[in-house]
């Protein structure tokens, strides 16, 4: 139980770091080509997550 909680925290932190990395890429820190590629990848990932994990039927 405790391990799964720790794992969840690790996943949360990893997701946050990925988010920060995407922000830095999209804002152009690594140059325009990387920014365009980062934006395309982020949008693609967002569309995939929204399509693959539909939330409308989830319990609130």
């Amino acid at each position: 139980m405790k391990t799964s909680k720790v794992l969840r925290r690790v996943y949360d932190v990893t997701a946050t770091l990925i988010g920060v990395l995407f922000f830095f890429i999209i804002v152009g820190v690594f140059g325009l080509p990387s920014a365009i590629a980062g934006l395309a990848l982020f949008v693609l990932a967002a569309v995939v997550v929204c399509r693959v994990f539909p939330t409308e039927g989830a319990r609130s």
């Binding site: 922000f23 152009g28 690594f30 929204c50 994990f53 539909p54 989830a58």
Partner: protein, 470 residues
């Protein structure tokens, strides 16, 4: 006490335009959101989408109405407060505003009635077409206005002879250097505003345990749109930054809070400063080391240009530009974080259960409006002391009218607009408190406009019962 007419004219215009911009931002975003929602309803026949449509249509209608009225006021204010600006800039700006009326307003006026009252008269497909036309109208309107405003930021296609401005290339006026970046920046801001409004209201219902199907769909739609849009906005924002740095360096120098011609290396990113414009220095700074170089020069040790690169008499007020920019930028970062969090929560299947996230969405409901206002303050205060950058100074643009006339009209505007905003907020909160109303799966009528005026459609008991369109 003697009041300066140029200060009063600026305060009046700042007040009326700040009030105005809230409503077009909402209506541009909501019009497209309504078009998407109606398309989803037509595709899925799920009545919840029609519920969402009808719910937000009410708020859109009020915002649209106030936006139009307060926009007309601005045109009159060119004469009241800035007659010299109108006289000099008229040859370039006038046709753009006239074209906005001829193209966007006529299109919107033609279809708005069908959109608001025609669902049970013209049938769903024609009604959807009307919604799309209104949404397109708002886009066209924004595009003309952004063209006019961007021309004031980066004037092109004109020649000045004896203080008189002549257009030499209309294409250059229309597609001036900052317009291709500022237009998508503004449109994305409007869509983000609508996305966070929609998601925030849905989150509020989820926290209250009310209208759950409606709430889940609006939170799902709002966060999905917001996530994609904010990524695009961060990208476009960086492009706008680069463009303004090229054409209006003083604005970006003020926005970053550096005074010296070259900052230290590596440059920090300032979050809080107390600028001393008189002595051209900061009394206090709070920033993150290295981040300024990384974000602003895209290198580890880059130096950032300060405001001393601009002659003192041509500098904007640093405090206004800096804090407006920080508010906009910090809200953008918060929106990006919310987008990433929403994806993560979707992935884990807890988007509707995470109360902290839902509360954050509720608090973020007006974030798009605040960020848009802050962005416009950066654009307008950062351009000072110019009203048309490099061509006409603001102090030379005001009308030769007595300060009493400007003060009395300013007081009148404040009073009338206070009534507008109070009425808007009261009715909006009432609509939110009441919640969405059950909607039929299909619209009653179908077919053409000709069908809409047939007696059985006009006098249909069901239509009459639904005539309040909510």
């Amino acid at each position: 006490m003697k009041l300066d007419p140029s200060v009063l004219a600026r305060i009046q215009f700042a007040f009326t335009v700040s009030f105005h911009i809230i409503f077009p931002t909402m209506s541009i975003g909501l019009a497209s959101f309504l078009a998407v929602t109606e398309a989803l309803w037509l595709k899925t026949k799920n009545p919840t989408y029609l519920q969402i449509y009808r719910f937000w249509l009410n708020i859109f209608a009020m915002g649209f109405g106030i936006g139009v009225v307060t926009g007309i006021v601005l045109s009159f204010e060119f004469g009241l407060g800035f007659a010299r600006f109108a006289q000099i800039a008229g040859p370039a700006i006038g046709p753009l505003i006239a074209l906005e009326v001829l193209t966007a307003f006529f299109l919107e006026a033609g279809f708005l009635g069908i959109m608001l009252f025609g669902l049970h008269r013209v049938g769903p497909k024609l009604h959807f077409f009307a919604t799309c036309m209104v949404a397109v109208g708002t886009l066209i309107s924004a595009s003309w206005i952004l063209s006019a405003n961007s021309w004031m930021q980066t004037p092109a296609g004109v020649a000045v002879h004896d203080g008189q401005l002549t257009v030499v290339n209309w294409l250059h006026v229309l597609m001036n250097p900052s317009w291709p970046y500022r237009l998508p920046h503004m449109l994305t801001a409007a869509y983000l505003t609508a996305s966070f409004m929609v998601a925030g209201v849905g989150a509020w219902y989820l926290l209250q345990g009310k209208h759950l199907d409606f709430a889940r769909r609006t939170v799902a739609l709002g966060t999905a749109f917001a996530t994609v849009l904010i990524a695009g906005q961060v990208f476009i924002g960086d492009m706008v930054y680069g463009t303004m740095l090229k054409y209006q360096p003083s604005k970006m120098q003020a926005a970053e809070g550096f005074w010296e011609k070259q900052s230290q290396s590596p440059a920090p990113y300032y979050w809080f400063i107390i600028p001393d414009q008189k002595n051209q220095r900061n009394r206090f700074t709070l920033g993150t080391p290295h981040l300024g170089s990384i974000w602003l020069t895209h290198s580890l040790n880059g130096r950032v240009e300060g405001l001393k690169n601009t002659p003192r008499e041509l500098q904007p007020r640093m405090a206004m530009v800096f804090y407006a920019f920080r508010i906009m930028y910090c809200l953008a970062m918060l929106m990006f974080a919310m987008g990433v969090a929403s994806l993560w929560l979707r992935f884990r299947g807890t988007l509707f259960n995470s109360r902290w996230f839902l509360w954050m969405l509720v608090f973020m409901t007006p974030s798009g409006i605040i960020a848009t206002l802050a962005g416009w303050y950066v654009a307008e205060t950062g351009r000072q002391p110019w009203v048309i950058y490099g061509i006409l100074k603001t102090v030379d643009a005001v009308s030769p009218v007595p300060s009493q006339a400007l003060l009395s009209t300013l007081i009148a505007f404040v009073c009338v607009y206070a009534v507008f905003i109070t009425a808007f907020l009261i009715f909006t909160f009432r609509i939110i408190r009441r919640g969405p109303v059950e909607a039929p799966v299909y619209a009653e009528a179908s077919g053409s406009i000709k069908n809409a005026f047939r007696p059985h459609v006009l006098d249909s008991p069901k239509r009459l019962a639904d005539s309040q369109f909510s």
